[in-house]
Symmetry: C3
Subunit: 630 residues, 3 copies
């Protein structure tokens, strides 16, 4: 405590005038304080002795007769600090006294400016956001309302200093500022975990700063489209959550559907987050630790993937002292099949955010996730693709990306065959940015081809060139036609083998039914995979016949279904098949015109026969055209 | 040599009085020494001139008539240092001489206390345990009888200093102690490889210290069980070998069966070794380099795995200058099928230690391994599970783990369906620690489920939570029922598909034989895998019938076998099948009631028919109940 | 500019005498210079005012009547520096003038000797070969004609300093030499990108130095063999290209066929390049970043592999500022099937070098690669194996390797069953080096076995021991017979299962045709794989019958073909099969006596029947014996 005694010659008791920044740690029982009345109740008065320190003067301690108003300046005597931290004062009626000023015991330095104080001893207050044990000192990363600063503490080589301090604690650090290879750090002298009021104050301050910094960029949507408009508030919430995660030093693990729309969704968000992370952490290397994009082949979040993600996150926490990540599901994640994986992560309090346009099951999903954006939740459907949503999200995450992303919603729409009216606007927007529809279609095919070739690898630099988001424009123009042509050739080769084995029958409702054994009559383990092969066959048959078409591509334990002009309610069919065929183990789903099912291999013939019977009775509907496959 | 001449005015020849710490490097032919007789033989007398330096005075050099007793103080003349290092003295009969004291040329500093000598020049003697080439200096890690210390030597950037020095050499290092980021190191001034007597002395000193430090913790077994008691000396040997490996800086590579018992065996050992490594190396990061736990799906050590392990070890040696590892096989490793892999490692002198409870083939295995612990080698059987053994091993490896491991043997026993009488005690022990049997069973199921989900990844943090060894207690209580329930649901779904396709027949010996094509009538590539699926079907049929039951779950090239109440000698059956069916390529094995075989797909029907014929004639035995599957 | 005025008392205008090292940056319009005539043309004279600065004195500026000869010393006046950098002078006719000397504004320090200038400010000129952003400074690696030196520039922690400077720029760096952990670096004061003449000069200097340093080692081939002799100039070009890549800091990514010959080709090249990289970069760690050997299972460069390689290269560029790599294809890469992958890399200007001995398609390949060495391009054939070629290549890459590689061509030849006459010489060479033919054969088998066990891992240390190239001789002698025996045992076990199911028929041309379903009558996923299994069966049948033999090993979608004494033109057969069987999707190829084809599973029977029909009509040819399988 830094008392300054004014030279006033008085010889009565000492009355302390606390600096407004003083905390409860700087008062002692028995001392007198200058106080201001801030509340009058019938059992006494409340007084402030600093901005942070208050207490009660019980009316039983009054001499009698006094009457107080808020704002009165009085002198009080601290008689007791209770266990819960409450202070009890008595009114002090002193004739003569000496006043001393007491400054706050330290002057706080903002983390953002420690670089200006090299060589000085400084005080920083903030939250511990990372703890990393090196072979030498322990490094505590402390974030205040301005920035984060590494604080190194040394106990013994490789031994954790301050073992009681944990990530999330609010601390006061006193230490010397050092420069090391151009970065600044504080060599810790004292490191105290704050509690009670002090901690609450600081946490509130950090929170306010965070809320401010996390606020999304205010942008108008790329096209004027009321359907999309409804989803913008949800997307703004997601943007806020993601920006906040970045500011808090929480890693983001992005899982997305490994197809064209999934790429158009995840790549712009990855691009925007990378830029925001670099800015917020002032470190070009930070995105490598804090952001990971992972393509998923399955149409839902598999337990194996969740287990692997969790395991990876726990190792990162152990090795690098990182927080557990936020999971961001893109173009995937809205269905009940995702929930076992979500529940696993829930045991570790890992936040989950979903942006998807596949038919959602909000009852199953919503209780487990922090945000869930899906057009079906607003009465819309898959025609608003995830890529369209995520381009808006990316623009909310980081300013100035509009020009680089204008062509992406069109690619997303073409990839998922969106029949949205806004497609006209998106195509026009892309055309103005220099992309004609043929070329956009080629981008879509190139993305699909590269998604296959990369398998589980995000291939960020390569995909950035293909989609031309943060990539090389010239290479993009060069690479896309080449890859699209490769994809075409491979499709042609596959169809050369498959087409002669496509079987045709006209079923009861008049539709053409085509079936092909894609395991036996197509090349295996090459592009295109069975789902795409089936889709290409279907498209050719639709064009060829101009009539209602159903196509089934089946393997030993799966079937891919496509329809044009016939209404297939696949979830209902799956349910019926399971009832009719015990032991067939049928699962799967889809929309009205596209889907896929799985079954046990030994029941394949029975399942296909029953399925075709159902399809033969399905209702014809000329409105229905193919939608995104997965 | 630091001679100190006492000011005694004498002018005869100089006689050296060596300090007791002097070594043979500090004597020279032609000098006179004060000596003490330490042995009298008929061809002369042996004398000590320091604690470390001795030699013979041949009787031919005596003037005659002298007679010596052990302890006599005499003066000798060094006439020859032979090639083998032996010293030959003559008796010196000097009237007048001057005595000089010769101190040991340096004062040795214990590696453990170099941190107290920052800035000083010190001498350290010890063994080189690691050599690492950095882009700058070469780092030699030198271990003496107290600790290990890094010694940095610089020749040219990135160029190996002292290229002749190798890991394992005994050296004398002279250099300045520096502190760098809180760790201490010696900047090498001189680095000499010691040989002969000096090296032998130091090696002996290190060995004695090592033997001492490697001594296992003295613990009483968790339960009073004579069968287990017999194996404790073997386990103590294993504990000693592992502790010694840690102290010598040798990495440990742990391979274990990826099932419940294998986890209960390996996780406590990993936990204990991690703590011991941290202590011994004073570095929280050391376990990451020195210990690796790897689950194996196969029931033996495959050549592919051994090749990969060896390759990994050689790379680590090249990149980090590490010793080649010790291989620790847990709940795997006792059979002849393991030997080709062992032989491969043997070419690189990699030590192998096995703790297993599967039927062993000691004749094949023992010549190739350093330690082999198996209950069958003591007339016991699989009922003493590897998990039970390894909990005792872990307690010998590191003190104070008892409380954290008391529930593990019960989980191990339940996982492998141990019918040991001691199970009662283990269950009681777990109950007292707060784990009822239902919950223990859930842990076992959760472990099995996570082993499937993690595949080849150890998933250490996750598994620690599931087993609650070094994990988070609260999360453990939360996670286990969730995972057990998930596993149950998946089993139910699998059995829904499979059960309608189980075929039944009553065979000649009256047993119920059930068979199921698990490839065609179960979901593929999902939990539970074929072995577990077969086991679950079997268990339900046993419960349903209450009679002797045999179950066969088969795929294209394998069959899983289970029996209750029927004695199947699977190894004999395999032998007979191979004789009867040329070209079937049958292999595999198991116990009396559980096993699995492989064959070439084209011979499946023939193999199954012949197998069932044999089973139909197998002897009924009510005592036999199912044992651990693998 | 550092002008030094000699004390000559003159008072006329100043004439500058430039130091010969001065550049165009050190001249100014309006100044007078001492010049030397270096060319006389009818429109004027060309003059040099320093080694690097020249210009024209137009005849229109002459007073008249003057006549000049090359070598004349005159004074000129600089009137104009044109946009393109050309200098225009006038002749200066001065009676009285003062001469000042102007030194080059800095004295260049060779990168190779900055270590001798610690603490001094130096100037280095060279090319930026790597830019790496650290958490602190940015590190520019600058190479001049002597060596490369890291230059650290600091803008703000983790922020790219000099963001305009790119890899490939020619720069002038001024800064202080520091020593850090034994390596030298320049702390950048100034860093300028040079353009125009200065840059051209330096680039020319670097190029000349590089060309010099890249020149291959001059070696005589190991054996006297005219067929091989023809290919040496091609190999020398490859050696030059590879050495140059190393000197330029370009990583090399080596893809090779994962069989015996492929190993014998790639391991010596890896060994030689490793040594050359260590020398050139003075860093034992550099090979880890700059060289990668990757085995390929497929007989051509698959798009998936190319995509993965490209993705990896782009990541390395982003993370470590490395150049994109050079791709070196060994024992693979000569066929049209490789071209889609090559085209992908071409979009990123990745250079490609091929050394192969499989039947090439130069029309498809040559336009896409920088070098293509193949014996067929010189009228030779597969008998000159890639291993034989690459041993010569390795010897051109690094001096003094002859003794260590003498046995390798013999192993390569045995692995690929080369019938070259030079095999006698190679075997004799190996015999003199201590390897008898039996042992060489064992090395070949051990390599094949380890290639299987390692799958996609290069396993460098292990393979070096097996082939004894940079390995441990004693271990080599020990390991090879062990692995060869393991391989033999596995082959025997496989053939025990398969042999009883080999079907025989004598076909029209009198040859014995053997066929085996290797998927159904051999163990799967174990050594030996189907191709090797088929080959072993074939070899046994050839030996057994002593007659013409064709063997077909088939699986669900492939067939491996082998012949002795029958001429199979496999590419023609593939073409015919595709015409005759629409929807069979047949692909593949091979030589006259060995090959493999793929087809869609559902057409297997039709394909095999048609294939056998063709084989039955194939021409017998006693000369033909089996060649390398792949």
């Amino acid at each position: 405590m830094n008392d300054v005694t004014p030279d006033d010659g008085a010889d009565g008791p000492v009355v302390v005038r606390l600096h407004s920044s003083c905390t409860a740690q700087e008062v002692s029982t028995g001392e007198y304080y200058h106080a201001t009345v801030n509340g009058v109740v019938d059992y006494g008065i409340f007084v402030d002795i600093s901005e942070h320190v208050s207490g009660l003067v019980h009316e039983s301690t009054f001499d009698g007769g006094e009457s107080f108003d808020v704002g009165d300046e009085i002198v009080v005597h601290l008689t007791e600090v209770r266990e819960n931290g409450d202070l009890s004062f008595e009114l002090a009626d002193l004739d003569d006294y000496e006043t001393v000023e007491r400054a706050h015991s330290y002057e706080r330095t903002a983390a953002a400016i420690v670089g200006q104080r090299v060589g000085d001893t400084v005080h920083v207050e903030g939250e511990v956001v990372q703890i990393k044990q090196t072979g030498g000192p322990t490094i505590f990363r402390v974030r205040d309302d301005t920035s984060a600063v590494p604080c190194t503490a040394f106990e013994e080589a490789g031994v954790r200093a301050h073992p009681d301090v944990e990530v999330g604690d609010i601390v006061h650090v006193k230490g010397d500022v050092e420069e090391r290879e151009g970065t600044y750090q504080i060599e810790v002298g004292e490191l105290d975990v704050l509690t009670d009021e002090d901690a609450t104050d600081i946490a509130r301050r950090l929170d306010a700063a965070l809320a401010d910094q996390a606020e999304p960029v205010d942008v108008d949507p790329l096209v004027d489209w009321p359907a999309l408009e409804q989803l913008l508030p949800d997307l703004r919430d997601v943007a806020r959550t993601l920006r906040r995660a970045v500011l808090e030093g929480r890693p983001i693990r992005m899982r997305h559907h490994a197809d064209g729309d999934g790429m158009c969704a995840s790549v712009p968000v990855q691009y925007a987050l990378t830029k925001f992370i670099e800015d917020a952490h002032q470190d070009d290397d930070a995105p490598r630790h804090l952001l990971r994009r992972l393509p998923s082949k399955a149409p839902y979040y598999e337990m194996e993937d969740a287990t692997r993600d969790l395991n990876f996150a726990l190792e990162d926490r152990a090795r690098h002292g990182q927080k557990l990540p936020l999971l961001l599901m893109l173009d995937n994640g809205s269905t009940a099949e995702d929930t076992p994986a979500y529940k696993t992560l829930d045991h570790y309090d890992i936040p989950i955010v979903v942006v998807d346009h596949h038919h959602p099951d909000p009852e199953a999903v919503d209780p487990l996730v922090d945000e869930h954006v899906n057009p079906y939740l607003h009465g819309e459907d898959y025609r608003i693709t995830t890529g369209m949503l995520c381009v808006e999200l990316a623009r909310m995450l980081y300013p100035g990306l509009t020009d680089e992303l204008e062509h992406v919603p069109a690619v997303a729409g073409l990839s998922d065959r969106s029949k949205a009216r806004a497609m006209t606007d998106y195509l026009e927007l892309a055309r103005e940015a220099g992309y004609d529809e043929t070329f956009l279609q080629q981008i879509s095919e190139a993305l699909d081809y590269e998604a296959y070739m990369l398998r589980y690898d995000p291939g960020t630099d390569l995909i950035n060139d293909v989609l031309n988001v943060g990539g090389d424009e010239e290479r993009h123009r060069d690479l896309v036609p080449f890859l699209a042509e490769r994809a075409d050739e491979d499709v042609d080769e596959q169809l050369d083998a498959a087409m002669p084995h496509v079987e045709h029958e006209r079923v009861a409702n008049g539709a053409n039914l085509y079936r092909i054994d894609v395991e036996n009559h197509a090349h295996r383990f090459t592009y295109p995979a069975p789902g795409k092969t089936t889709g290409e066959i279907h498209d050719r048959k639709v064009e060829e016949t101009g009539e209602p078409v159903i196509t089934i591509g089946y393997g030993p334990d799966f079937a891919v279904l496509r329809s044009d002009g016939v209404r297939l309610d696949i979830p209902v069919m799956v349910e019926e098949l399971n009832e009719e065929l015990p032991g067939a183990g049928v699962s799967g789903g889809g929309h009205l015109v596209v889907g896929s099912i799985r079954f046990v291999p030994g029941m394949r013939e029975a399942v296909l026969d029953a399925l075709i019977e159902k399809m033969a009775e399905a209702e014809l509907d000329e409105e229905l055209r193919s939608a995104p496959t997965r």
